[in-house]
Structures are given as structure tokens and as C-alpha cells.
Amino acid sequence: MSLPFLIIAFVTLFAAAAAMSLRNLVHCSLAFVVAFAGLAALYLNLDAQFVGFAQILVYVGAIAILIVFAILLTRSGDTPNEAVLAPGWFYGIAVSAAVFTLLGWAVLSSSALPKEVSSAPQTTVKNIGEALMNKYVLPLEIIGLLLTAAMIGAVIIALREPGKTKMEAGELKIDKTAPPSSILHPPSSTALTGGHS
């Protein structure tokens, strides 16, 4: 356990805890981004460059943005007032701790686990590329096909059917009485209005 590892681990765990316990959802997602970056740093600390950079590229660059957009577009900006912990938090923790203990015991006592720790293989980007293109080319192609199918499906769902008007297609339901959607005012409006009084 080197010092860099300790620092990174602390930051990651702290960010993960913050992501769980902060009230404002956007703050949670930003803390989540820090946790992702900490994981990437852990990978880099283990000399796994490719995985580390891919972690940043995919999680920090894409997934985090997706989460943030989802929060902005679906939630109202108000910070919930109820407690962070659900009423039955004690039982939840007890159950999860029990599951963790069971799994840990099962894994550690398993005979499938190699007894001695082998030295880390020297993986370069070239190795990974060759493995992907030779040994694992079929899974790679299948994943590619799957993702393409998913994307085409998404496009078709998003496509407006010709002939149907927007109202019929249910794309747009205008409620004249409802206040405007809070997309443009994501954070709590209490601070805005409360500040002026």
C-alpha cells in the first residue's frame, strides 16, 4: 500500500460517499465523476494505461454527461427536504453487510482461486489490440452489431412518424396551466426567491 494508492483510494471513497449522501442531485453526480476519475487513477497506478484512459473517456466524458443530462431533463430542480437516509437504513446496511460477508467468504474459500498471486502480465496497448483483433474478434464484432442495432432502434423510436401530427403522436403535451418546465432553472428556486425577501 503505497502513498499514492492511499491518497487515490481515500479520494475515491470520499467522493463515492459524497455521491451517496449529498442532497443536491447534480452535486451527487459531480461527486460521482470524481469517483470515476479516482478509479481511473487507480487503474493508472496499476500500470493499466489503456483501461485507465478508457475509464476517463467513457465514464467521465460520456456516462457522467449522460447522468447529468438525465437529471436536468427529468427532475425538477428542487432539492428534496426529506432525510438522506431512508427510514429502514439500518436493515439495509445489515442486509448488504451480510451479503458482502457471505460473498467474501465464498470467494476467499473457493478452490478455483489460484493460491499464489502471479506477477502482473506486461500488457501494452499493442497486446490489447492484437487480442481484440485475433482471439476476441468475434465477441468484438457481436458487441459492435448489438450496439449498432441498439442505436438504430433508438433512432427509430426518436423518429417522428410521417403523417401524424405532433399532438397525436403524443410527443408534445402542452399544459397551459402548468408552470414552465424547470429545465432552465435546475437548482432550487427557493434560494432565488428567498434571497430577495
Partner: protein, 398 residues
């Protein structure tokens, strides 16, 4: 002698490291490299802001800034001292945080913007033996940290609690996500041909000469298309005109940094320009031979001089484009990315494959050029087909 000049920074660094105890050497080495980057590129930024203002002025038949030279003297230097008062001004201005803003996130956003941008410089080969961190997956590193900029844009836009900021941030993120795809796909061709993600290898692969002309990838059909796609996408990534929707001042004031003032604004400004330089540096490395000279009889000029010269030249082209083209509309922006650049980048990857497997014959030039040109014609016609002016329909206002 010229070789010594070429390696002067490397030699100097080794000289300094010789006086440092063994244990501290990695740290001192890193600090020295970072200091050099932190002093050179903001300096270039300062000069480029003047170039930009003067260049756009000349294009619009104005003089541009030509007053401020060396302070406390009458020497004007054609206005190239303008950045000094600009910097002092931004340092001494009041730092305003909106009362309703999310203070912590508002404070962190410019810092989070600058960190990935500066990190991106770590892998760029500025000259022969001049790379701070020569990662195996250098290209991936660059794109990974480049993707992290989006988070800072979101933080700035959201925390300001201002509709213009949030709109700007939304636009910026949509644009960055869309244009990251052609950016990366156009870079993939080079990776395919070189067979490495290491930027030093990519430069080394272009450092050959035939008839005195360098083997830059921009001189091949796929490289030419890749280069143009890359630089168009990098224009969009760095939010520069004509892709400056995220900070369209006529529509949304200044986009995601509307609520920033003083030094935080300057940090955003700096981050934006440094990001542009970094992405231009990557484009140079991938397609324009990095630090190599274009013709063999000019190889005596130091490598870092070539790098900076190429970078400034591309910045000039960016300024030229900024002064020429009006801002795109949102649908035009998306159409360009998804209907022209993405298919063209994909076709370009196929063409690069064909290029690789056809061997060093002259026919491959013909075949590759024909495929690309045909694709461009067809895609271009498809993009222009719907460009008839007519009654405007509003999606959400019927």
C-alpha cells in the same frame, strides 16, 4: 551546431537534473517540463489574442489594436503590448458571483476546465525528444482528458443559475459530444496506418523524405480528408466560429461563462485558447508531421520551431475562418456532424484500409482519391438538397 540548438532544452534539463539528488530527479524533471509548458503556451496565447484582433481587423479593413507597446515608453510595437493591460485588467476586476449561484461549483468550474486542457499537453511531442509523458496510449490519453472538459462546461453553466449559462452549456456539450466522433474517427486512420497510439511513433512514421518532400499524412488522399475533418471538428471542439453557438453573444450573451468575471473569466478564456492550441498540436502531430520539416533541406531548423510555426499557421487559418463564416444554426451544426462528417470519416477509415492493403503502387492514389471524391460529392449533395428557404416551422410553438 544546429543539432545542439535543436536539443537545447533537453540538454539544459539534463544539466539541471545533474545537480539534483537521485531521489528528487523525477519530480524536478516533471516540474521543469511543466514550467516550460506553462510559460510558453500562455505566452503564445497572449500573442495570438493580438494576432486575432489585428487579423480580423485587417480583414474588416480596420487597423485593430495598434497603440499599446512597451509600458512607460512611447514604443508601440504595432500594438503587441496590448495583452499586458488586458491581463492586468482581468486580474484587477471585481470577481462577481451571482447571489443565487452554487458557490463551490461556480468556483471550481474554471479550474476543472484548465486542468484537463493542460494535461493534454503532456503527450504532445513538441520537438525531437521533447515529450513530457510518452504514453503508449498517448492518443487515447489526449481524447480522454479532452472529454473531461465537458464536465467543466456543464459545471459553469449549471452553477451560474442563469438561463443563458445553462443554454450555452447545453449547446456546448451537445456540440462537443457530436464533434468528438468525427474527431476521433479521423484520427483513427492515422493509428491504423502507423499501428501505434504513441504520438512519438506517429511523428517518427512521417519523418521520411521522398524527392525532398516529407511523408506527411496530409499528402495522401485519406490523410488529406482526415486532416480537414479533424480541423473542422477541432474548430467545433474549441467552440470557435463558425461553431461558436455555445457562446453566441447575439443570442445567449456569452454562453456558459456569462456569469463569470475578472480572473475566472480570464481562466475560461485561457482554457479555451489552450484547448485550441492543444488540439491543433494534436492535428499537426497526426497529419502535418509534428515537429518535422516539410522539405528535407530545411531539417536544420530546430524541431520545436517547426512545431510552433505550424501551430501558429493553423491558428491563422482558424482566425481567417472566424472572420469569414457566419455562425451555423443548431440544425445545420448537427447536420454537418452527423450527415457529412461522420459518414465521410467512416468512409475514410475504409479508404485508409484500402490504402494499407494495396501496397506502394501508384494505383492506390487513384482508387483512394476516387472513392473519397465520389463520397464527398454524394454526401455534399445530400446535405445541400434540403437547403431551400421556406416557411419556418417551430417545433414547440404551434
Amino acid at each position: 551546431m544546429f543539432e545542439k540548438l535543436d536539443q537545447i532544452f533537453v540538454t539544459l534539463k539534463h544539466l539541471v537534473l545533474g545537480y539534483v539528488p537521485e531521489a528528487l530527479q523525477p519530480l524536478v524533471s516533471a516540474v521543469l517540463s511543466v514550467t516550460l509548458i506553462l510559460s510558453v503556451f500562455p505566452g503564445i496565447f497572449a500573442i495570438v489574442t493580438i494576432f486575432e484582433r489585428k487579423g480580423i481587423g485587417r480583414i474588416q479593413n480596420r487597423y485593430g489594436p495598434n497603440r499599446v507597446g512597451i509600458p512607460f515608453t512611447n514604443i508601440r510595437l504595432c500594438g503587441f503590448g496590448q495583452f499586458i493591460p488586458d491581463g492586468i485588467k482581468s486580474l484587477t476586476k471585481e470577481d462577481i458571483v451571482p447571489r443565487a449561484a452554487d458557490r463551490v461549483v461556480h468556483f471550481l468550474a474554471p479550474i476543472v476546465m484548465l486542468i484537463p486542457v493542460l494535461l493534454a499537453y503532456a503527450v504532445l511531442p513538441f520537438g525531437r525528444n521533447m515529450t513530457v509523458a510518452d504514453f503508449d496510449a498517448g492518443l487515447l490519453f489526449f481524447f480522454a482528458v479532452g472529454g473531461a472538459v465537458e464536465i467543466s462546461v456543464f459545471m459553469a453553466g449549471w452553477s451560474s443559475r442563469n438561463k443563458y449559462s445553462l443554454l450555452g452549456a447545453m449547446r456546448a456539450i451537445a456540440q462537443m459530444v457530436s464533434y468528438e466522433i468525427p474527431l476521433i474517427l479521423s484520427a483513427v486512420t492515422v493509428v491504423m496506418i502507423v499501428g501505434s497510439l504513441k504520438l512519438v511513433d506517429i511523428v517518427a512514421a512521417q519523418n521520411h523524405y521522398t524527392f525532398g518532400i516529407a511523408h506527411w499524412y496530409v499528402f495522401t488522399p485519406w490523410g488529406f480528408v482526415g486532416c480537414i475533418l479533424f480541423f473542422i471538428a477541432s474548430l467545433a471542439e474549441s467552440n470557435r466560429s463558425p461553431f461558436d453557438l455555445p457562446e453566441a453573444e447575439s443570442e445567449i450573451i456569452a454562453g456558459y461563462f456569462t456569469e463569470y468575471s475578472g480572473f475566472k473569466f480570464a481562466l475560461f478564456f485561457l482554457g479555451e485558447y489552450l484547448g485550441m492550441f492543444a488540439i491543433i498540436g494534436l492535428g499537426i502531430t497526426l497529419f502535418l508531421g509534428g515537429w518535422t520539416s516539410p522539405v528535407s533541406f530545411l531539417t536544420w531548423i530546430p524541431s520545436y520551431v517547426w512545431f510552433v510555426t505550424k501551430m501558429i499557421a493553423i491558428v491563422f487559418v482558424f482566425i481567417w475562418i472566424r472572420a469569414t463564416l457566419p455562425r451555423l444554426r443548431m440544425d445545420q451544426l448537427m447536420n454537418l456532424a452527423w450527415k457529412l462528417m461522420l459518414p465521410l470519416a467512416l468512409i475514410n477509415i475504409v479508404v485508409a484500409g484500402i490504402w494499407h492493403f494495396m501496397g506502394p503502387d501508384w494505383q492506390r492514389w487513384l482508387v483512394c482519391a476516387a472513392i473519397i471524391f465520389g463520397a464527398y460529392l454524394v454526401l455534399g449533395r445530400g446535405l445541400m438538397r434540403h437547403q431551400k428557404l421556406g416557411k419556418r416551422t417551430y417545433r414547440y410553438a404551434e
